[in-house]
Symmetry: C2
Subunit: 224 residues, 2 copies
Amino acid sequence: MPGTPRTKEKTMRLPKHIGVIPDGNRRWAQSKGMTKDKGYAVGVEPGLALFRLCKEVGIKEITYYGFTMDNTKRPTVQRKAFTAACIQAVEVMTQEDVALLVLGNSESRMFPKELLPFTTRRTCGKGGTKVNILMNYGWEWDLNHLKLADPAHKSIMKHLRSAAVSRVDLIIRWGGRRRLSGFLPVQSVYADFFVLDECWPDFQPEHLFRALQWYHEQDVTLGG
Amino acid sequence: MPGTPRTKEKTMRLPKHIGVIPDGNRRWAQSKGMTKDKGYAVGVEPGLALFRLCKEVGIKEITYYGFTMDNTKRPTVQRKAFTAACIQAVEVMTQEDVALLVLGNSESRMFPKELLPFTTRRTCGKGGTKVNILMNYGWEWDLNHLKLADPAHKSIMKHLRSAAVSRVDLIIRWGGRRRLSGFLPVQSVYADFFVLDECWPDFQPEHLFRALQWYHEQDVTLGG
């Protein structure tokens, strides 16, 4: 009918950029009678599965919350375990068609040397989907860079250490906690926040679909 | 029994600082067959009720998300209505025992002139509980102040325009949206985020108690 608005429902409104907080690894390990450090290696496979699903659906950018500068203060056995898992996640990702970036304080010894080549974005395979993995990231480290910017420039985003990471539309957190825990505070200002009670190692494709369905039902106002 | 750890459950773990996002005013008005602008004035009374309850329970600081620089781009009739409601909220609050601060871009004409005296914290009555009301606030306006700071100083908090507002422990949002919408990005990095589906004008004391009960059940790690 002329003049009838086209129904928006016909296509699914997708987030361009998804932030992933893969929490609950330690609680998962303990629930299986294992020590906490055993919860990280099992998180690599879900990370790849999630990436492939996102790619298939048409998500343009994904940022994984690997580990933070705060996290590195945990017991050494845990620190080594999550660092190893994150390195493995990067290795696995280099086998995909992806534009890969590892972001974090790389001047510290907590940053794995072997990943230094990824601190500028690298094209793997045919490239395409942007994947950012935060490693030894800290929100203060990120925001402190603003102090070096010319106050005449009003933009914030461009002057962050995380400037290569765009605004996040949807954050999905596993493990039941309803908090950002320092995840990209600027890129997350308008993000919709979906929390799953399941721990990250128990990732199921259905989790992503549930989050996307929920996101689709939200209005997006960007603060307006 | 000697050596037995004291159970934490005996006392309720309370947030020191609660952030309040009183959303859903316009949807509430529409659901009552009123125009959107009619949803703001009815939000003043709940704000006072919430304050009194918080004070009673022992909360030390409350920050209300009044309106943002983005919000002022809405239709004039709405802008006037939420500005008037926020002014009234401040007037009402001055009758309480409170240390009151109105925070936002006061150099703009969108900032109500009559509230300029509150842009530095004022003691009302016997003082005590800190109450911050964000008016014509903008996260970029807030963070841009970091560009004036000496890069040698590593702290972020001290160099924000919102430096007088402390870290937020619990954010309660009415109106069902699960997002921060630019609310104090730095103070909120570790905040636990509780969302109520009820619109703000339908505030009930039970909402606060539900949020506090939930907060009590969370662990607090501050990113560790």
